[in-house]
Structures are given as C-alpha cells and as structure tokens.
Point group: C2
Chain length 221, copies 2
DNA sequence: CTCCTGTTCAAACGACCGCTTGAACTATGC
DNA sequence: GCATAGTTCAAGCGGTCGTTTGAACAGGAG
C-alpha cells in the first residue's frame, strides 16, 4: 500500500491524508455519473479526470457497474444512517405525525447532503440521477440501497394516516421518493444555478410543506 | 415513393395503409428510447426492430438526435393540442379552479395517451423517460416541446391561487410536471405490470387528488 | 424506352467502448 | 540484501457506436 497515509506517516502533515486512487475514482464517478448518467459516462472520462489508469477501475472495483455500485453505497450510507436515526427517535417518542415522518425522510436527502458545500451538491445530484436512470438494472441497484428502510416508513406513515388505504400510503411514498430524487438531481430547477446551503434549506421546507398537504388531504380515504 | 399507398391504391385494401419506413422508425424509436433512454439505445437496435437499414435513419431524419426530436414532436403534438383545447375551454368559462387546471394538465398526459392500448402506454413511457433523461441536452429537447403552454398554465394557476407567491406556484408546477413524467415512465410503479386503461384512470384520479391537495394547502402563502 | 427523383441497401469508415494483459514500480517483511 | 504483495501503467483486445458512401432499385413523366 504505497500511499495509504496511515496515522503518523512521515510524508504528509497529520491532517492532510492523501486521497487514494480508489477515493479519487469514487469522487469523480459521483460527479460524472451525476452529470451524464450511467450510459452517458465512459470509464475513460472518469479515469482521466481522476488522474488514474483505466485498469485501476477493474483493479479496485472489478467493472464499471461495480464502480457505480460502490459509489451508490458510499453516497447512500450517511443518508440511510440519518434516516434510521430519526425513525428510531420518532418511534421512541411515539405516534409521530405525518409531517415528522416526511421531514425525517426529506431532510437527510436534501439538507444533510446539500449543506456540505459543493461536494454535497454533487452527491445529491448523483443519487437523484441514479435513482431514476433509464436502465431498470441501474434503478434496481439504487433501490437495493434504499429499500431496507422503506418498510419502516410505510408502516409508520400508515399509523400516522389511519384513514388512508395501504395502497394510497404507498402511492404517497413513491411520490415523495420521486420528487425528492428529481430535486436532488436538479432536473426540476430550470435555472441551472447551483443551490447553496440557504436555498437548499428553503427547498426542503417548500417540499415538505407540499408533501405534508398532499399526504394529509390528497390520499384516498 | 414506392409504398406510400395513396388513397385508392390497388395493392392494399382501402383501410389498411402501409406503414412507411419513416413511420416504423418513429414507432420503434418510441418503444426503444422509452425502454433504455437515449444513450442506452443504439440506432442498430432500432433499425433491426423496424426492419430498416441503418442508413434509413440518416436519410429520413439526418441523425440519431434528429430521430429523437422527430419522435418527441410527434408524441407531444396530441398532448399539447388537448391541453390547449382544455385551457381554452376553461378560460372561456372563466375563473377555473386549481383542480380543473391540474386535471387539464394531467389527463391529457395519462388518460389520452394510456387509453389507446399498448401503443399509448409505449408513447407515455417514451415521453416520461425523455423528459428526465440524464443528458441536459435531451431534457432541453423535451422542454422545447412542452414549454409553449407552460406560461399559460402558470398564469392560470396563479389566478386560481391568489394567495400563493409566483415562486411557489412555479414550484408546484414543476412538481406536477415531474410527478406526471415519473408515472408516465412507470419508474414509480414498483410492480412492473403494464397499466391497462382502467388502472390508468385510477392513477390519474389519485395523482390529481394528490396534487390538488398539495396546491391548495402546500404552497407558500 | 429514357431520364429522373425518391428510397433502400450492403459495406465500410474512424472513433470509442469496457475490459484484459503483462510488465514496471513501490513499500514492506524477512 | 532479497523476496513479496499491492498498485499503477502503456498497450491492445474484440466489439459496438453513429455516420457515410456509392451503387442498386422502384415508380412517374417526357
């Protein structure tokens, strides 16, 4: 391991660990896949931007799709963690409202990710883009990372909306999922300008208010 | 023009006009682009399925992107026509409600297109897929076909929702646009089963109710 | 019949794709 | 020192991409 920069390494100052080839590949993959989608982005474009050799992708990940899978897993991990944490918290408190549940879903996807500067915006766009990639195969790959907590949200939403049928609760959930992804990918923001932290907060509040109203009064009785 | 089958031609019965190569290309392009997206679909896959030569694409359209543009224009034409017709009708009546406006937007996209059998489902999926293609270039191509009536809808929605700010009305509009496209592309229906006419009607009603609630009470005052 | 225009065809172009190979390089363990 | 395992590299594999070419084919007009 030439450049892993373990703690106390002599080559770099203590607080600037070297970005490994693997990390650079994941970072650039997030950016490029988020811009052009999976099919529209070549491994060569990624490796050139990451100052790495093409063979490095197959060495570190095995294939283009495996690189994408690793990037999705890494990007979704903190979002899923935060969502789980919030769900635990709400369930411990007991009887969460629809708004609390929606907020616990939306904010980790927008806030947590957009509030950390350019990198966060890149990650959000990546997730949003992959979630609705034209290829069913790629969408499934995202769904595999997102599904584990879906059942918990559905159950909690059903409890919070006893008047709504299970079908209509599921309908609301996929609408929430879809709208979040579209805003994450910035495909809905006509003005191409990137959102800063403040805008992202406003977006989150607007989206939550929109969804709360739809859940509260827009589902089949 | 070998096989145009003008009226009264002797080769085919009166009511079965021959499908020209150009039409076959557009039909198959709708289907394949709707399945795999623009980047994920090759001209060869299209021409093979259409029983046409690859060169026919460049002869009839000029390029792959021009084929897509022609397919989008053909698919959107009846939707735009119907939306314009409904808007005219509502405006002639005066003071349309938010629900009437939302219905006039959603139904031409789902109903009109899904109610005409398999072909309609293919067209709907095609439109929905292209509207949020990963490539900005392709999305713009769709937006160019969709934009002309956008201003009319925004103005009408603003009048019907005087309490909402212009920004929030625009926010609701893009959400409506996005949710419709996602349902059209069937990316939100987890069960991969194709929707028949009856299901499509239910979907339209559910989506309209969801959006009406969100517009009525989910926008910034 | 001959010309002419519109259409289809097989074949090939250069470019790029994801992936593999085998050697070179690098830090570490003995 | 030397062997070893981890990593990077230039080069090339077979295949597919969108596009182009020039010839063949088909009907209509003179």
């Amino acid at each position: 391991m030439p450049e892993q920069a373990v703690a106390g390494g002599k080559e770099n100052s203590v607080e600037t660990p070297v970005e490994t080839t693997r990390e650079r590949l994941l970072n650039v993959a997030e950016q490029r896949f988020g811009e052009g989608g999976y099919e529209g982005t070549s491994l060569r474009a990624i490796t050139v931007a990451a100052a790495a050799n093409i063979a490095a992708v197959n060495y570190h990940f095995g294939s283009k799709e495996a690189l994408l899978r690793a990037a999705v897993a890494r990007a979704m991990a903190p979002v899923n963690t935060e969502r789980r944490r919030r769900l635990d918290q709400l369930e411990a408190k007991g009887s969460p409202t629809p708004e609390e549940l929606i907020r616990a879903f939306i904010e980790p996807g927008l806030d947590l990710v957009l509030r950390r500067g350019d990198r966060g915006a890149v990650v959000a766009r990546f997730i949003g883009r992959i979630a609705f990639d034209p290829s069913q195969r790629i969408r499934d790959l995202y769904a595999a990372e997102s599904d584990p907590i879906e059942a918990r949200y559905l159950a909690a939403l059903q409890s919070a909306l006893p008047h709504a049928t299970p079908d209509s609760v599921a309908f609301g959930y996929v609408n929430m999922l879809g709208l979040l992804a579209l805003h994450q990918s910035q495909a809905l923001s006509r003005a191409p300008g990137l959102q800063d932290a403040e805008d992202s907060g406003k977006l989150a509040e607007n989206l939550i208010a929109f969804l709360v109203a739809a859940f509260d009064r827009g589902l089949r009785a």
